[in-house]
Amino acid sequence: MKPRVLITAANRGLGLEFARAYAADGWAVVGTSRDTADTADLRAAGDDVTVLPFDARDDESIESLVRTVGNIPLDVVIANAGVGDSTRNASEVTREMWTEIIGINTWAPFRLAVALRPNLERGTHKKLVGISSLAASMGSGYNVPGGYIYRASKTALNQLYHTLSVEWRPLSIVCLVMRPGRARTKLTGFRGDISAEESATGMKQAIMNATLDQTGSFIGYDGQQVAW
């Protein structure tokens, strides 16, 4: 049986490039999209692509996705859906923006991972991947000002996936958070150093290479470890 990957927000950007890269390797792809009218590129990504609706803001949508997936094995789950944050300074951070972005970037990937654990256990590769960011790193000397909520959301995601890695090690599930690099996607306003394809194919390689010894780590699209 061919391996299967589930990718959230696979209709564009990094998610779409992940879908294309896995499909090109002969994998079955389950790709989600918030806007089911905007999935032509995803549907064309390969010959075994299933498109499902998923809105990270909505708990019922998360649970609905989990029910639809049912008990099929998932080899790799990539929680890719995320939003940026335009705050330039601390005084621009509002409670409403905070709740919205933390819900999408942190809560949803956590809840989805936990709810899909039985599917990962049935898979062969058993890899859970969260898409993080260098902005989540405190130890790498990252010094771009602003983006408070985005940074917080991704650092919290790192902590949650790392905690999952500790608790899921006996299940042989490899949990990773990835630094995609500054890829040209909607989130970066298409200003980046690398293409979305280069970022996704680099991350896919790093995911393939990761063993249980690397569970709980923060890895870049270039395969390098990132400081917490």
Partner: protein
């Protein structure tokens, strides 16, 4: 005379901070959700003033900042926090998560931002927030307490951003690691609040501006991010 503002000063570590700073002759501004019930804080003496503050309510923060307009604050200690649920990952719900992230991560940033003019008017210019070993990802090899951990990791990275933003203002932004202390949050296990706060105040007293963006422990030891 120096002034310290401590959120959540009605019990636990916050109350002990208030007690020690007051005993040292500082002017202490303590906040509590319900000042009328903060009898231990009020009893500390005349140099202690108590203000109501619900840390997750922007209107409450704005009201506090309004009451304190023009008052220099040397040290802010954003201490108020909640432990969150201890349930297995499967049983955590969005509301549990969002609430703890609001109290432990969003609120300290909102409080510091609202009191920035007071800190700028102070002499010591220290914005401190109470973090935890549980916020460390690198030291986390035992799992548990997902929500609390995530909230403190988020606080850590935002305090780093704040240090960057406030560098031109000369404000030192520092994270505090008080240790495992006998408080309501820990079900009264760990070291005495007095030991924790004595050590943490010592760390605060020896801070330099170059420490901004870092984390200091009550025991003088450093921990990984």
């Amino acid at each position: 005379m120096s002034t310290v503002l401590i959120s959540g000063a009605n019990r636990g570590i916050g109350l002990e901070f208030a007690r020690q700073y007051a005993a040292d002759g500082w002017s202490v501004i303590g906040t509590a959700r319900d000042p009328a019930a903060a009898t231990e804080l009020t009893r500390l003496g005349t140099q202690v003033t108590v203000y109501p503050l619900e840390v997750t309510d922007p209107a409450s923060i704005a009201a506090l900042a309004g009451s304190l307009a023009g008052v220099p604050i040397d040290v802010l200690i954003a201490n108020a926090g909640v432990p969150g649920v201890f349930t297995p990952a499967e049983d955590i719900r969005r509301a549990d998560f969002i609430e703890v992230m609001a109290v432990n991560s969003f609120a300290p940033l909102a409080l510091a931002t609202a009191l920035r003019p007071n800190l700028e008017a102070g002499t010591l210019k220290i914005a401190a927030a109470v973090s935890s070993l549980m916020g460390s990802i690198g030291a986390n090899d035992w799992g548990t307490q997902y929500v609390y951990r995530a909230s403190k990791s988020a606080l850590n990275v935002m305090w780093g951003s704040l240090a960057l933003e406030w560098k031109p203002l000369g404000i030192t932004c520092i994270l505090l690691r008080p240790g495992m202390v006998k408080t309501r949050m820990t079900n009264f296990t760990g070291i005495e609040p007095e030991e924790s706060v004595t050590g943490t105040r010592r760390a605060l007293a020896s801070l330099s501006f170059a420490d901004s963006g870092g984390i200091v422990g009550y025991d003088g030891k450093s921990i990984p991010w």
